[in-house]
Amino acid sequence: MKGKLWAIGAVAVAAAALGYIALGDLGENLVYYWSPTEMVAAKEKAIGATIRLGGLVEPGSLKPDGQTLNFRVTDGTTAVPVTTREVPPQMFREGIGVVVEGTVDDAGQFQSKRMMVKHDNEYRAPEGGAMPSDAAMFGTLEGE
């Protein structure tokens, strides 16, 4: 019986340690799904964090510059400038829904490491310039 208690105690300690490590690691490795407005509202929290920024590529903002590509992602209220060195996917163009994954550097610039265009079988172009819903935005993406 004494042995059993010891065993249970040892397992409990191990479980607590594992839980502590896991939850600590969890907090450091979160990926935030933000719209430009939410990202701007998060201020310093955005710097260095992994972010999936969803919105439309703002018409007129797309500027290729050698191997880098600059554009703005907008949700209708806020537009965030994004820069990337990635080769964009085939459908990438102005006005299309995108999710860019990356982080905000110290200078406040969004650096994208991965770009995904909205890729939905049931996609219908938003009517009258309406913004796609959050769920539609972060739904099935190409390259995921």
Binding site: A22, L26, R52, D120, N121, T140, G143, E144
Partner: protein, 667 residues
């Protein structure tokens, strides 16, 4: 008309399952032979109804009967016939219907296989299986009804199944394999619950429990690997596993089922830890339901979210009921199972198994936390987030390496107390090979600690596994001294395979898993990638290859159009053509990438076409070591599983002897 017929079969299945479940529980509680007979009859009835309902749906699909809504959703006159056949499981309602077919087949097979055994526990088990069957029939009759009529007017053609699923042949095999694994967990769940109800778990129940668990485990292993292979061949990001919630959903029951398969060897050998074994089996089933909820409810943002629907709450409710049922049953009955043996020796195979179980449970816990955390965060705080890969890798890598090490330690130790002398003799030579593997790895330039350690543990575990595998053969050769050495070995191998097929099969599975873990470590640590935009005729250097963009061409197929880019990859005078493409489907806004992989046992060269505009192709290239060994390892694991499942001669002899003895005793 077809819709109504299908509907009738589903309702028939529901009636059989519900009545059979009641009969099973009644027969278990009252030990009624009539109830047991009727439970079996109704189980076969349920299976027949599910088969007929599925055949009806296939008929509707093949005749393009767009008056059935499901056919209108996934069917298309232009689809090739094989695509039409497999569109049965390409969308939500059809996949639940297919689920019912598999459950029916499992229940019928398990009922037939166990009809003469364990009269105290099997009626309970059949009651549990059919209760699960009744739930899925209820889904089919209500929230996920595949046979509803299409809205008026009846469409003349449909869009065809989701192009992502049409794009590769692996997507045709992957879902059935995964379903066979998921649904298969119902059988051991029922047997474990039956053991709890009856308050006994003896060898005669552990054998079918392990057997059915192994069947489900084998399919799950193949299903998960095929999913990874599909992601690798189709999605174009050069990887096969992203810790996506839906991938994790399939891994969770695999982890607990692996632990349960090992745990079940302890009561078999030692009479110990019956309650623990049963708990792991129950958990495996509950995790398959959690996985079903995750994949079928659309709560996750994932590439797998093609099957969104409103059946999420129904599945969640069923999961809750099963969870409460399992916990209450365990709490009330588990102490009836214990008492015969215990694990006492510290240095023994038993304790290696225990440690293995703790590691698997720790990994399950880690993955479960990382997978469900985003759901909780959204439900509680309304924030959308996901847990990044580093979290999973940081936890899974050390635990995975420790498990790999234990794969060498466990089989090297004997059951019961091991003497120090014996341990040294058994463990030191393989340990030497492990260290040698690390030295060689270091010599060829590997510097990262975890891949090196994986290599070492792989060498150690591989040595032990091979030694244990040829053990039975060597014993036979030693016992047969007269003939020539070659002749003795030639005679011993088939004899060992038939006599010790379970043991040898088990070690073949281990070899497969060792190959998989080592190749996963190497391919993820030492893969290289680059992106480029190339104009027609332009070449670039990549990892010793000269990669030239030769031409772009368009290929029209009946259901899609391909924009193909031909690249020539030359290295050391050898050149090969690699042709990634972008596939466009009618009704789809964006094209889908079709990467092309040149795979050898040493390296994969992987080209993914990002974009093509006239003569300019955007391409993402990868070179990864020993990826092919992951798929080969899974094949080996499947082969080993099959071998273990073939009844060995000893078991066959026992099976023949048992009824005869029982008959003699009853006279």
């Amino acid at each position: 008309m077809t819709g109504e017929i299908g509907q009738a079969f589903v309702l028939g299945g529901l009636a059989c399952a519900a009545a059979g479940s009641v009969a099973g529980f009644g027969a278990g509680a009252m030990r009624s032979a009539t109830g047991w007979l009727w439970a079996r009859r109704l189980a076969y009835g349920f299976a027949a109804c599910m088969l007929l309902a599925n055949l009806t749906m296939e008929y509707a699909l093949l005749t393009h009967d767009f008056s059935v809504r499901y056919v209108a959703q996934v069917g298309s006159i232009d689809s090739p016939t094989y695509i039409t056949i497999v569109s049965l499981w390409s969308s939500l309602e059809g996949s639940i219907l297919f689920w019912g077919l598999i459950l029916g087949a499992y229940v019928a097979a398990a009922t037939a296989a166990n009809r003469d055994e364990n009269p105290s526990t099997m009626p309970w088990a059949i009651g549990v299986w059919l209760a699960v069957g009744a739930f899925f029939c209820f889904l089919l009759a209500g929230p996920a009804n595949a046979f509803l009529p299409a809205p008026n007017p009846v469409p003349l053609d449909g869009p065809g199944p989701n192009p992502l699923l049409q794009n590769h042949v692996l997507m045709i095999i992957h879902p059935p394999m995964l379903y066979l694994g998921y649904v298969g967990m119902t059988i051991p769940f029922g047997i474990a619950a039956g053991a709890l109800f009856a308050g006994r778990l003896e060898a005669s129940q552990i054998v079918p429990l392990r057997r059915w668990l192994l069947v489900a485990w084998g399919f799950l292993t193949v299903g998960i690997t095929l999913g990874g292979w599909w992601a690798y061949e189709v999605l174009g990001w050069g990887g096969y596993w992203a810790w996506d919630p839906v991938e994790n959903a399939s891994l969770l029951p695999w982890l607990t089922a692996t632990a349960a398969l090992h745990a079940a060897m302890l009561p078999h050998r030692r009479g110990a830890l019956k309650g623990w074994t049963v708990t792991l089996v129950l958990a495996s089933f509950l995790l398959t339901l959690l996985g079903t909820f995750m994949t079928r409810s659309g709560v996750f943002n994932s590439v797998h979210s093609f099957s969104q629907s409103d059946i999420g709450p129904t599945i969640l409710a069923f999961l809750s009921v099963c969870l409460v049922f399992s916990v209450v049953l365990l709490a009330l009955r588990v102490d009836k199972l214990e008492g015969e043996g215990a694990v006492t020796a510290v240095v023994s195979r038993e304790s290696a198994f225990l440690l293995n179980n703790l590691l698997f449970v720790a990994l399950t816990f880690t993955v479960l936390v990382g997978t469900t955390f985003p759901l909780l965060a959204e439900a509680v705080k309304g924030v959308k987030l996901s847990v990044g890969e580093p979290y999973f890798n940081r936890m899974a890598v050390p635990i995975g390496v420790a498990i790999l090490f234990l794969m060498g330690v466990g089989p090297a130790l004997p059951w019961g107390q091991a003497s120090g002398e014996r341990v040294r003799k058994q463990v030191l030579p393989p340990l030497g090979l492990g260290i040698a593997a690390m030295v060689v790895g270091f010599g060829v330039g590997l510097r990262e600690p975890w891949p090196l350690l994986t290599l070492g543990c792989g060498g150690f575990a591989g040595y032990v596994t091979l030694r244990e595998m040829i053990g039975p053969v060597r014993a036979l050769v030693a016992g047969n001294p007269g003939t020539s050495a070659l002749g003795a070995w030639a005679a011993a191998v088939p004899q060992a395979l038939t006599q010790s097929n379970r043991r040898i099969g088990g070690y073949i599975v281990h070899l497969g898993i060792i190959a998989m873990i080592v190749s996963i470590a190497m391919s993820s640590a030492y893969g290289v990638d680059a992106e480029a935009r190339l104009t027609k005729g332009e070449c670039m250097a990549f990892e010793g290859y000269d990669i030239c963009f030769e031409q772009a061409r368009t290929v029209k197929e009946s259901n899609r159009t391909l924009e193909v880019a031909d690249f020539r990859a030359t290295r050391d005078g050898e050149s090969s053509l690699i042709s990634p493409a972008l596939a466009s489907y009618p009704g789809m806004m964006a094209p889908i990438g079709s990467p092309d992989v040149k795979s050898t046992l040493g390296y994969d060269l992987y080209l993914s076409l990002m974009s093509i505009n006239g003569d300019v192709a955007g391409v993402h290239m990868f070179r990864k070591p020993i990826v092919a060994w992951i798929w080969l390892g899974a094949g080996l694991a499947a082969l080993g599983t099959l071998m273990s499942l073939v009844p060995s001669r000893k078991a066959q002899a026992a099976a023949v002897a048992a009824p005869v003895a029982a008959e003699a005793a009853s006279k």
